[in-house]
Amino acid sequence: MRMKEGNLRNLFLCLCLSLICISSTAQTTQRSLLLVCSDNANLESLSHADVRKLFLGVPLIVDQVRLKPILNASDPLATDVFLQKVIFMSRRQYERQLLSRVFRLGDQRPPEYEDIDLLAKALLDTPDSLSYMWSEQLEHLTGLKSLGILWSDSKN
C-alpha cells in the first residue's frame, strides 16, 4: 500500500509538473505581431489607421519624414494575419488595390522580403522604414525595436 501511495504521490507531482510545463509552453507559443523599425528611428508609435494607410501605399509623412513600408514575406501566416487584422483585405484584394493606386495615383508598392535577415538589414539601412514580424522573430534580431502590438493571439 505504501508503495502505491508513493506512486500516486509521484504521479501527482508528475501531473503538476506537466501542467506547469504545458502552461509555460502555452505562454511561449502566444504570438504577437509587432510593428517594428530600426532602433535609430525617431518614431515611437503609430496608430493602426496610419499603419493601414502606409501599407496601402498612401504617402505618410511624420515629423517631416516620409515613412516607407516593407512587407515581411518570410512567414505567410504573418502576412495573412497582417492583411486581415490590420489592412482588412484578403491578399488578392490587397494586391489589386495596391496596383490600382500605383496606376491611378502614382503611389508605390511596398518592397517585399522573403528572408527575415534581409528584411532586418533593409530596416537598419533605412531608418524611416517600417515592417511587421512575430515577437519571436524580433527576439533574434538586433538593432530593431517594436512600436507596438498589431495583433495578439490572446486565446492561448
Binding site: 483585405m89 484584394q93 503611389d107 508605390q108
Partner: protein, 355 residues
C-alpha cells in the same frame, strides 16, 4: 506636326521616363515603379451593315509603358502607349504632396466619372476587354474630354474611418476635327484648345477601401472645325458607384450630357443620358465572369451624337477572364452593339500581362 517628328518626340519621352526611373537619384532616396502592360487581341464582328466603316476582323497589339518616381514630396508619373493604332503620351504629370492632397501639373486622366480614373490604357487591370462607350478614349469614338492638360488636385479627407474624396481639374480640353483630339504634349502649340473644368466628389464607407459612391460635373468648351461648327459647350454630370466584396464587384454610372453646338447659322442644344452597369464574379482566384449593359436615352437625332456615327449607343456583353502564370490574363468577350447606323455582334479575345 508630322509623323516622324511625333515618333522622335515619343522616343525622347521614353528616354526621359526611363532615365528618371533609373537615375542615380531614383536609386538613392527616391523610389519608383516601372511597369510594362503588353496586350495582343483579336476582334471578330458579324452582321455589319454593307457600308459599315468597321472591319469584320481586326487585330490589336501594343504595350503601355508606365513609370512613377518620387523624391521626398515630389512625384513624377508617366504613361506612354505604343500600340497598333496609336503611339502617344497618355499621361505626363509632375506633382507634389501637400498635406493629404496631391497637386499635379501636366496631362492627366480627367476625373469625370469612375472608370476613367480607375482604368486606363493598361487593360490588365480591367476584367473586360472593352471600356463602356461613354468613357471611350477621344480617338476611339469617345464623346467626353478623357485627357486634360493643366492642374489636378486630388485627395481624401478622413472622417470617422470613412473617406470623403475629391478631385478638381482645370485644364485644356479637346478640340473637335474628325474626332475629339486632346492636347498633344509633344506639340502643345498645335490645334485649338479651350477650358475644361471637372469636380468629382465621392464617399468611401471604409477609408481607402475600393467601395465608393460619388458624383461629378464637367464643363468643357470644345473648339470645332467640322460640319460648319464653331464651338461646342458641353456639360456632363452624373453619379457612380463601385461596390466590392470577396467575390463580387458591381460598378455603374449614369451620365447626363448637354451639348450646345454653335454653328455659323445659329445655336442648337441637345441632351441625352447614357448609363452602364457591370458585374464581375470571381468563383476562385483564377477565373472572373463578367457582364455589362450600356444604354442611351434620348439619343435619337441628337446633334452631338450624330457627329460620332461609330459611337456605341447600346451594348450588352458577357465574358470570362483567366488569370494565370503570375500576372498574365486571357480574356474572352462577346457583345451585341448598336451604333447610330448599325447593329452588330462582336467577339473579342485578348492576352494582357504586367511585367
Amino acid at each position: 506636326m508630322n509623323r516622324d517628328h511625333h515618333r522622335v518626340g515619343l522616343l525622347y519621352s521614353l528616354i526621359v521616363i526611363t532615365s528618371i526611373v533609373y537615375s542615380p537619384i531614383s536609386l538613392g532616396d527616391a523610389t519608383g515603379e516601372f511597369l510594362l502592360f503588353p496586350h495582343i487581341g483579336a476582334i471578330f464582328r458579324s452582321d455589319l451593315a454593307d457600308d459599315s466603316l468597321l472591319d469584320s476582323v481586326d487585330y490589336t497589339y501594343g504595350v503601355d509603358i508606365f513609370a512613377t518616381s518620387s523624391y521626398q514630396n515630389f512625384l513624377f508619373l508617366g504613361e506612354l502607349l505604343l500600340a497598333k493604332q496609336e503611339q502617344d503620351i497618355e499621361r505626363l504629370q509632375l506633382g507634389s504632396i501637400v498635406g493629404d492632397s496631391k497637386v499635379w501639373l501636366g496631362r492627366f486622366h480627367n476625373p469625370v466619372g469612375y472608370w476613367n480614373t480607375q482604368f486606363h490604357h493598361g487593360s490588365f487591370l480591367e476584367s473586360s476587354i472593352s471600356r463602356p462607350s461613354i468613357v471611350e478614349f477621344e480617338d476611339d469614338n469617345g464623346l467626353l474630354p478623357i485627357h486634360l492638360t493643366g492642374l489636378l488636385i486630388e485627395g481624401v479627407i478622413e472622417h470617422d474611418k470613412q473617406g470623403l474624396g475629391y478631385a478638381l481639374a482645370v485644364g485644356a480640353g479637346p478640340e473637335l476635327s474628325d474626332e475629339l483630339k486632346a492636347l498633344d504634349v509633344l506639340d502643345p502649340g498645335s490645334g485649338s484648345h479651350d477650358l475644361s473644368l471637372t469636380l468629382n466628389l465621392y464617399h468611401e464607407p471604409v477609408l481607402y477601401a475600393p467601395t465608393r459612391y460619388g458624383l461629378f460635373i464637367n464643363h468643357t468648351e470644345i473648339p470645332a472645325t467640322r460640319n460648319g461648327l464653331d464651338e461646342i459647350r458641353q456639360i456632363s454630370a452624373g453619379v457612380y458607384g463601385n461596390w466590392e466584396s470577396q467575390r463580387w464587384r458591381l460598378t455603374g454610372s449614369t451620365f447626363y450630357l448637354r451639348n450646345r453646338l454653335q454653328q455659323l447659322n445659329g445655336v442648337l442644344t441637345d441632351n441625352f443620358i447614357s448609363s452602364y452597369f457591370q458585374a464581375d464574379f470571381k468563383p476562385d482566384d483564377q477565373w472572373t465572369i463578367f457582364g455589362r449593359v450600356e444604354w442611351t436615352v434620348d439619343d435619337e437625332n441628337d446633334a452631338y451624337l450624330e457627329l460620332f456615327p461609330q459611337h456605341i449607343h447600346d451594348r450588352i456583353l458577357g465574358g470570362v477572364r483567366l488569370d494565370a502564370f503570375d500576372r498574365h490574363a486571357f480574356k474572352l468577350e462577346i457583345s451585341g452593339n448598336r451604333t447610330q447606323e448599325d447593329n452588330f455582334g462582336q467577339f473579342m479575345l485578348q492576352w494582357d500581362a504586367m511585367f
